[in-house]
């Protein structure tokens, strides 16, 4: 590592790598409660990295985004998910369509692709956290992979939310966050989305007696 990189940038890079690491951990996690906890941890890390960017750049609206992230992604959403899991009495095990080592290998390939795609853009970026754009895209793709490979409804939703985390990291790393009104709108959408999904889980379970979405393969173009 070059000693010329300022301390704050190193911190941001550190947090970004922790987020990537957590994305891999989620990909490997077999238990649904632990998965939600990992998601909460990712939200917390995201909040810290936003806070560091806010302190170093003095952008006041980033403090608000950091607070919003903490509230929504580290506390509220995990809490809702925990309650849902308990109320629905979901079984502990998370099943995966592809076995986990193979998923990890695919994940590594995705990270390499993400870094290649964002390479030319990172060079243009003048923000202090420019190195994290590749990591952000990589976490989005890993979350996407998780949604594809998991067969249960709740891990799919956690994947969906983790994808949103990656996007948020992209917003703070490439730029200093989106305009406040947009961020508020996105947060509102995510919150409503989770509430609707909560309603939806109960409907699915009532119909199928399980949250296994492999039951839901009737609609096909035969």
């Amino acid at each position: 590592m070059n000693a010329a990189i300022p301390f704050s940038a190193q911190l941001i890079n550190l947090f970004a790598s922790v987020i990537l690491l957590l994305a891999f951990a989620m990909l490997a996690q077999r238990r649904v409660m632990a998965l939600v906890n990992l998601f909460a941890l990712q939200g917390l890390t995201l909040c810290l990295s936003t806070l560091v960017v806010a302190v170093t750049t003095g952008q006041t609206h980033l403090y608000w985004s950091a607070g919003l992230t903490l509230l929504l992604k580290a506390l509220l959403l995990p809490w809702i998910l925990h309650r849902l899991i308990r109320r629905l009495q979901v079984k502990w095990e998370v099943e995966s369509l592809i076995n986990i080592p193979a998923t990890m290998l695919v994940g590594i390939a995705l990270v390499i692709i993400a870094f290649n795609v964002t390479q030319p853009i990172s060079e243009l970026s003048s923000t202090i956290s420019r190195g994290t754009l590749g990591i952000a895209l990589a976490s989005v793709m890993l979350a996407f992979l998780m949604m594809i490979t998991r067969t249960k409804a709740i891990p799919q939703v956690v994947g969906f939310l983790a994808m949103e985390n990656g996007l948020f990291l992209a917003a703070t790393s490439a730029t200093y966050g989106m305009p406040m009104v947009v961020e508020l709108g996105i947060a509102l959408d995510v919150l409503i989305g989770v509430i609707i999904l909560g309603v939806f889980f109960f409907q699915i379970r009532d119909q199928f007696d399980s949250l296994d979405i492999r039951h839901m393969e009737k609609l096909k173009d035969n």
Binding site: A171, T175, H215, M216, D221
Partner: protein, 483 residues
Amino acid sequence: MDFFVLMLAIPLVSGALLTVFGERAWAPNLNIIASLGTFLAAVGLTVEVVANGPRFAFGEQFFIDSLNVFFVALTAFVGLTTSIFSGPYMANEAAHGRLTKPRLRLYKSMYQLFMFTMLMALTTNNLGILWVAMEAATLTTVLLVSLYRTPASLEAAWKYFILCGVGIAQALFGTILLYFAAERVLGETGNALLWTHLVEVKGQLEPTVMALSFIFLLVGYGTKVGLAPLHNWLPDAHAEGPTPVSAVLSGLLLNVALYAILRCKVLADGAIHSDYAGNLMMGFGLFTLLLAAFFLSRQKDVKRMFAYSSIEHMGLITFAFGMGGAVANFAGLLHMTMHSLTKSAIFFAVGHATQKTGTQMMADIRGLIRINPLIGWGLMLGTLAILGMPPFGVFASEFMILTHAMKHFPWATPILLLALGVAFASIFGKVQPMVFGETEAKRLPHAPAITPVFLHLGIVLMLGLYIPPYLTRWFHEAARMLG
């Protein structure tokens, strides 16, 4: 009061009212009155914009020009006719015991909120808010798709939510990249996502970033348009949801998503200085068109079949806009109008037909012309219109797209003709026995609303024979803006 404020306030307020009072006997009427109010406000706004030119609202947060006011008018109109259609349709569903009162309330309040989110997406000047409104439009319709709570409808709604969620996340990444490119030119003000500011500096936006951004935006919003290969949610959501929802999804939501792509294309074109964005759209459009045409022949469910027909037409429209230029853009806009009107009319007719016969399987629907001549003829004429038979308006727009393709992109012509031919054979072959043929079907407790069907088809027919000059001017203006 300002027409624009009224247009957004009416669906929002009535949506809230219907959430509370949706079970009252007058609720269906409120739904129609609110849609009528929205439509009148939209007409007022249109007249104003056509007379005085583009305008802002709420500072610079909303922007209405001849391009989006055209979509606004169309959305409000189809919203009105669909609410008229859904009155007797939903009453019949309730009488058949398929829907309870709380679900009817959910339907009405979500319908109004859906109209609100679409009008918001169309009029906002902020590309970030555009994203937020598009996502909100998905959220309001998810619970409508699963309204019947059958296993199939739940599956459809789940697929709709997840696939569109993934798609829309790609669009958000594209928006972030766009903001990144804009920020370097416009600085860190709240204006860097405002379309009117972006379009002024589009030549200075970084081409590499814009190229990447446009891919994400196209794939993301393209998922909602129904572009292959991310179109899978569309037939399920259309087939399993209540028919009025299919009509607005097909007739309006797909248009709004395509509108989002068009706005972004203008910026990408300005930044990249090549046909990059257009070529991408042409590729996606042709692929979608071809795929949908061949899937059409395999359908057994009538709503599913017309959903695939929507995918096919969206592919054709995307291709038209991809070709670019005044003529192709004009044809694309015209085709969007024709498709919205015709497809929603077809869904109205299909909705009543499936209620009469109690099934969506085409093999079991026979002899509509004997059960109810108006529904039968409505479906037949609608089908002929959507298949591009003259003198209906779809013929005019398809003909323009085809001739323009022949002139500038001759290699695409055989693909277009093949897809349109296959689609014609599949749809006509299936609808013909549904309309003519022997039957035994029952009477419905509530008389169906036939007016919207023939109103739409009448307009499509009129536009096929004669497009009023002010409409032509308006289309030309909008087409010119798209470059």
